[in-house]
């Protein structure tokens, strides 16, 4: 009796948050499905049209291109982020003041807004006033200023560089915590056995950080699949719609072309793809942990 009353009391405390989630997450999720079966427009009006939006999406070349481009971006940036994060963690985990200062500096861009950092980098990469060209010219690496955003591949790499700068500290911090949770006696035993630094990294640090690395990979891969700000600001989807990401194409349809029903359909497809990809990765992680 008392337990039941206390249970009800607990539910009462959770009720406002539950109501909030029901209203602003659960209902929109259901509405997203409903809208995906309509031709709802931002200008008003909405009719049930069955699976026509899904059929349309199947033949939408820009949608498939944006999806492929988002995957390409994710597949390129994730290994860089994880690899650089791990190497930076090896440096920043050292117990010296300089290493701790390095840690603080590398993590700093994580707190900056993605919008602000993209506006900073699009200026750095500007072909006329940008300092990247100036730096490359001064170092003698290029002969004349490069036009970064006139080419989809160069533009993609410019965005990747800016995002690596912005978020590499996140993976670094996770991996520092992972490395620090490894017992020091293991390292000391290996040192007594004459293992060199890189042998210890390869045989101890790396295998014992697998869980952290997998987690960092999952978080940054999902984040990359949802990329929008950096492309909206730095490439504006161009040249020739080649750098639209999935979220960008959804935004474009729902809010620029006013095709909300179609935008809802694309949102569902993206959600399904991310859900499948992350489930697959979780499964692989679990299997990897067992063997």
């Amino acid at each position: 009796m008392i337990a039941m009353r206390r249970g009800a009391m607990g539910l009462l405390y959770a009720a406002p948050a539950l109501a909030f989630v029901a209203f602003f997450v659960l209902y929109p999720m259901l509405d997203l499905f409903r809208m995906s079966l309509t031709n709802a427009s931002l200008l008003g009006g909405s009719e049930f049209i069955g699976v026509k939006n899904y059929v349309k999406a199947a033949g939408d070349a820009t949608f498939w291109h944006s999806l492929a481009f988002t995957c390409e971006y994710t597949l390129l940036i994730t290994p860089i982020l994880i690899g650089a994060g791990f190497l930076l963690a090896l440096v920043a985990v050292q117990p010296s003041r300089l290493a701790k200062l390095t840690r603080a500096v590398v993590f700093m861009p994580v707190v900056i807004g993605l919008g602000s950092s993209s506006l900073l980098w699009v200026w750095l990469f500007d072909e006329q006033v940008g300092l990247i060209n100036k730096l490359l010219l001064d170092l003698g690496l290029i002969g004349q200023p490069m036009v970064w955003f006139a080419d989809a591949t160069l533009g993609l790499w410019a965005v990747i560089l800016s995002i690596v700068w912005k978020v590499v500290g996140y993976g670094m911090i996770l991996m520092i915590a992972g490395v620090q949770s490894i017992g020091v006696d293991i390292f000391e035993a290996a040192m007594l056995d004459g293992a060199s630094y890189w042998q210890r990294v390869a045989r101890i640090t790396l295998p014992l950080s697998v869980r952290t690395i997998a987690l960092a990979t999952l978080v940054s891969a999902i984040g990359s699949m949802l990329a929008f700000d950096q492309f909206y600001i730095m490439t504006a989807g161009g040249p020739k719609s080649q750098t639209f990401t999935s979220v960008y194409w959804i935004y474009q349809n729902s809010f620029i072309y006013f095709k909300q029903g179609y935008g809802a359909t694309l949102s569902i497809l993206l959600m399904a793809i991310i859900f499948l990809a992350s489930s697959a990765q979780l499964l692989l992680m679990r299997r990897g942990a067992r063997t």
């Binding site: 405390y13 509405d31 931002l42 010296s96 390095t102």
Partner: protein
């Protein structure tokens, strides 16, 4: 290394690890030779130089005169210090104060919503035998499974019906959707870490459950509350796509959306000096929080991600 250095405390390390690091350091010192120490120092300095380059250059550009900021080819440093870029951002369209007030208002409402929703929810989950507790918890984490970017289309429809489009409250609700899972998770964990004896003693003294929350749990969880507020502020202050969609009236822009407007400029000529001045203004609160409250910030990151 007798005492924990102030910085590493911020990373929520246990003293065991610090002691371990100490003995490792002794071993390293024995092994390390002077050249490799210099090499390590050079490596650290190089990494910091690369990481600081963009921010320092942006700061320098913001302090150039507007003519010099648009000069091609550019110079790294201003030949004279000028604040005219900041003056131009200050007077952009409705004026910088308007946009700052917009951003601060939305962030404050987001903080308030996160506190009002996550503190009781965390308390309920941590301290009461709620039936199907883990299911309730999972429902509260639901927005982790449905990225908010995908929900913007139906949310826009809902907000138009409710009259929440172009309001501070509307955008704050979306930022709360974004921030609520982390907040609930954080509060549940920190309330669960409060010793049960403390709560039982309060109940013995005849305190009701709300009084117990107010007098025992909230003071004990103060560091987590600080973390919750910091994260809600930074997430809301920096959020871009929802602000872009839902605040589509010029006078309602938040700072990041305004900056995109500054960049679009007049007649195709980009006022880069003003853009960099705006970037400096928009990142200042975040950097200030980071430098002053690093402990709460980094521990929050590890809390939310590792467990």
């Amino acid at each position: 290394m007798s005492a924990a250095p102030p910085f590493s405390r911020g990373f929520g390390l246990s003293s065991r690890n610090l002691r371990g690091a100490g003995s490792l350091r002794l071993a390293m010192r024995r092994a390390a030779t002077t050249p490799s120490l210099y090499l390590f120092g050079a490596l650290c300095v190089a990494i910091m130089a690369v990481m600081l380059f963009p921010i320092v250059m942006s700061l320098m550009a913001s302090l150039k005169t507007s003519v010099e900021a648009s000069a091609s080819p550019p110079h790294y440093f201003p030949s004279e210090i000028s604040f005219e870029n900041y003056a131009r951002v200050f007077h952009y369209q409705a004026g910088l104060p308007t946009y700052l007030i917009n951003s601060f208002s939305v962030a404050s409402l987001t903080i308030a919503l996160c506190l009002v929703l996550a503190v009781p929810a965390g308390y309920g989950l941590a301290c009461f035998p709620i039936p199907a507790k883990e299911a309730v918890f999972l429902i509260l984490l639901l927005s982790l499974m449905a990225p908010y970017q995908a929900l913007l289309t139906p949310l826009h429809r809902l907000f138009t019906t409710l009259g929440l489009a172009n309001t501070y409250l509307g955008l704050a609700i979306i930022h709360t959707v974004l921030q609520l899972p982390f907040s609930v998770y954080l509060m549940r964990n920190s309330f669960e870490a409060v010793p049960k004896e403390l709560a039982e003693a309060a109940v013995m003294d005849g305190a009701g459950s709300f009084q117990t929350l107010w007098r025992i749990f909230l003071p004990a969880a103060l560091p987590s509350l600080v973390t919750l507020v910091l994260f809600a502020f930074i997430a809301s202050w920096n959020e871009f796509i929802a602000a872009l969609i839902f605040m589509n009236r010029e006078s309602g822009f938040t700072v990041p959306v305004m900056l995109v407007g500054v960049r679009q400029g007049h007649f195709g000529a980009v006022d880069w000096g003003a853009v960099q001045a705006g970037v400096m203004i928009s990142i200042a609160p975040c950097l200030l929080i980071y430098l002053l409250l690093q402990k709460y910030y980094v521990s929050g990151f590890l809390n939310g991600a590792v467990k």
